[in-house]
């Protein structure tokens, strides 16, 4: 006989051995004890957990942590080196922490926060070591801002979702201590012009950052969306450089070294540099240029003719979004989208445009303008400016979606070569 131990005790009488072994979709994993006393995990079908009428059966009691509804199958899309946020499944502008994109160069390290320290040295009056507890004693700062990998682009075929094209961007409220506070604490020397930020993963990730960014708005962050950082986002401390390519916001931060020149690490030479025209390569491309993407309606969803609220996200690493335009006729004409408050500096901003689709084949797309007057370019404009040998870094073209008369929505790939 199997004995089932699950939280929903009042439901256990509804779970028979037959249904557990049946082919129904797994909704939850229950701990099942076999006759020999061994505990195994056993799938439970969603229907078995559901009362016929939720008003007739007392629900789950209060718990220690909340859970996502078993009906919501929202997941990241992992590869060996990264995992993409499901942009098409989000509402509003905050990325749930467990769905924040991941990009790391040698896995997520396991770090005991009680043992983790941050060393600041080099061109400073007083080299200091801070524990995580020390960092939390300093005056804190919070800001809502996006974080995007500069390699956030994929294209080339019709069957791509926003997650696949653009899922290496996410947004959180980041909390920590201003780096300028720590700079004052160690006494950064006037001749320091760059600093090295180093992580404690096995890649021992390093990037050189101009000292000016440290004084301006850099944060040594220990929290994300109201709780400690997730391990995937740098637990227990990371650098956070708003508006800059994600790789510079070094995670699992263990060391900052002030210097009078950049260090030319592998991640700022062999990687994270991009070909521009005339055989040249651009280096230290920190700022994320403005970008937008429609997240609904998009592949693989289908639509019906009639009223559609076109929804999406827009952002710029150089300031606020001032305008998003939407085209429903393949870029021939553009209409102003409504921007949803709050419109924050260097932050994902939600936009929408309500449209009555007459059911004929067309293409929809969005383009953003930021505070500096930069207008999101087309793929062809980027190729013209940089040459056709696009490395894929800092590639922010307008993304178009085809609406087919049968209601299918497909990405419209741009082809150059």
């Amino acid at each position: 006989m199997k004995k089932i131990r699950i939280q929903l005790e009042q439901l256990t009488n509804r779970i028979s051995r037959r249904t557990m072994l049946g082919g129904a979709a797994t909704a939850a994993v229950a701990l099942v004890q076999t006759a020999s006393g061994k505990t195994i995990q056993q799938g439970v079908s969603l229907n078995e957990l559901l009362p016929e009428d939720p008003t007739k059966q007392i629900g789950t009691l209060a718990g220690e942590v909340g859970t996502r509804s078993a009906f919501e199958k929202v997941v990241k899309k992992p590869s060996d080196i990264s995992s993409r946020s499901p942009l098409q499944d989000f509402y509003g502008i905050i990325t749930p922490s467990d769905l924040h994109f991941e990009r790391h160069h040698a896995g997520v390290p396991a770090i005991d926060p009680a043992k983790h320290e941050l060393l600041i040295h080099g061109l400073v009056d007083k080299p200091l070591v801070f524990t995580v507890a020390d960092l939390k004693r300093f005056p804190s700062v919070s800001r809502i801002a996006f974080l995007e990998c500069s390699g956030n682009f994929r294209g080339g075929k019709e069957t791509l979702s926003p997650q696949e094209i653009c899922g290496l961007t996410s947004q959180s409220e980041w909390t920590g201590v201003k780096l300028s506070t720590l700079f004052r604490e160690v006494g950064v020397k006037p001749n320091a012009s760059w600093f090295l930020a180093e992580g404690s993963d096995t890649a021992i990730m390093t990037r050189s950052v101009p000292v000016k960014k440290g004084w301006d708005d850099a944060i040594v962050a220990y929290a994300q969306n109201g709780e400690a950082l997730r391990p995937e986002q740098g637990y227990p401390v990371r650098l956070f450089l708003s508006g800059w390519e994600g790789n510079t916001s070094v995670k699992w931060l263990r060391r900052l070294e002030l210097s009078d020149q950049p260090f030319m690490t592998r991640e700022e030479t062999s990687k994270y540099t991009e070909p521009i025209k005339d055989g040249k390569y651009r280096q230290f491309s920190f700022d994320i240029d403005a970008r937008s993407i429609i997240t609904y309606p998009t592949y693989p969803k289908t639509v019906e003719k009639g009223w559609i609220e076109i929804r999406g996200l827009a952002w710029s690493g150089r300031g606020k979004v001032v305008r998003v335009e939407v085209s429903t006729d393949a870029g021939k004409s553009w209409q102003l989208a409504t921007l949803q408050d709050p419109i924050l500096d260097k932050a994902h901003t939600a936009f929408r445009y309500v449209w009555n689709w007459n059911g004929t084949e067309t293409e929809i797309m969005s383009r953003v303008t930021d505070e500096t007057g930069y207008v999101q370019p087309t793929f062809a404009q980027l190729a013209k400016a940089r040459g056709t040998d696009n490395g894929g870094y800092h590639f922010n073209p307008i993304t178009a979606w085809q609406l087919k008369p049968d209601g299918r929505v497909l990405h419209r790939p741009d082809n150059l070569r």
Partner: protein
């Protein structure tokens, strides 16, 4: 209350002063309300770093050679180490984890970006291998092994000859073919697409 107002958090200070302000409206108090968070020059948190712990963590190498340890590398020895510790993942000229050696493979539309045609500084080769390779056992190489491997990879990419010794003096002087190709970012926002 007054006794504490030197150091209480600004919100508390504000409450204390605001009620005071209502009763007598003194101008000097109004100006002190506007001042929030007068931060000390230093908080005194953290502890001084010892020379030993800085040395243990400070493994980076700059293009001018700062950070290079004592030791020396020879191409021939590096070739042997590469064959035992690196070849499984990188191959001699192009393995599953990317080639480290520039080749002109006519099958490819674009040449693979490697040390020979894309790396602007030779010191980066030393820094990266010592820091992160072999991928499965980072930090396992001695400084001499890293010098040997650096010498071999520079020779295999046609940058130095078989006889050149690589050490803290010679490595920063190696001029990489790609150095002249790198330009600093000149995007500035605004209407221009770059």
């Amino acid at each position: 209350m007054n006794r504490y107002s030197f150091w209480v958090p600004s919100t508390l200070l504000f409450v204390a002063l605001a009620s005071h302000f209502q009763t007598n409206g003194e101008a000097d108090i109004a100006s002190s309300i506007a001042k929030v968070d007068t931060l000390p020059a230093r908080f005194g948190f953290g502890r001084p770093a010892t020379g030993a712990e800085i040395t243990r963590l400070d493994i980076d190498v700059r293009p001018d050679g700062k950070g290079l340890p004592p030791g020396q590398g020879q191409v021939a020895i590096g070739r042997q180490i590469f064959a035992t510790k690196c070849v499984a993942c990188h191959g001699t000229v192009g393995g599953p984890n990317g080639s480290l050696v520039t080749t002109t493979n006519p099958d490819r539309k674009r040449p693979e970006k490697t040390i020979g045609n894309y790396w602007p500084y030779a010191t980066t080769v030393f820094d990266y291998i010592r820091r992160a390779m072999p991928f499965s056992q980072p930090g396992s190489l001695t400084n001499d092994e890293v010098y040997h491997l650096t010498a071999y990879l520079l020779q295999a990419n046609g940058i130095i000859d078989e006889k050149t010794l690589i050490n803290a003096q010679t490595l920063p002087r190696v001029v990489m073919p790609a150095q002249k190709l790198f330009v600093p970012d000149d995007r500035k926002g605004g209407p221009e697409i770059k």
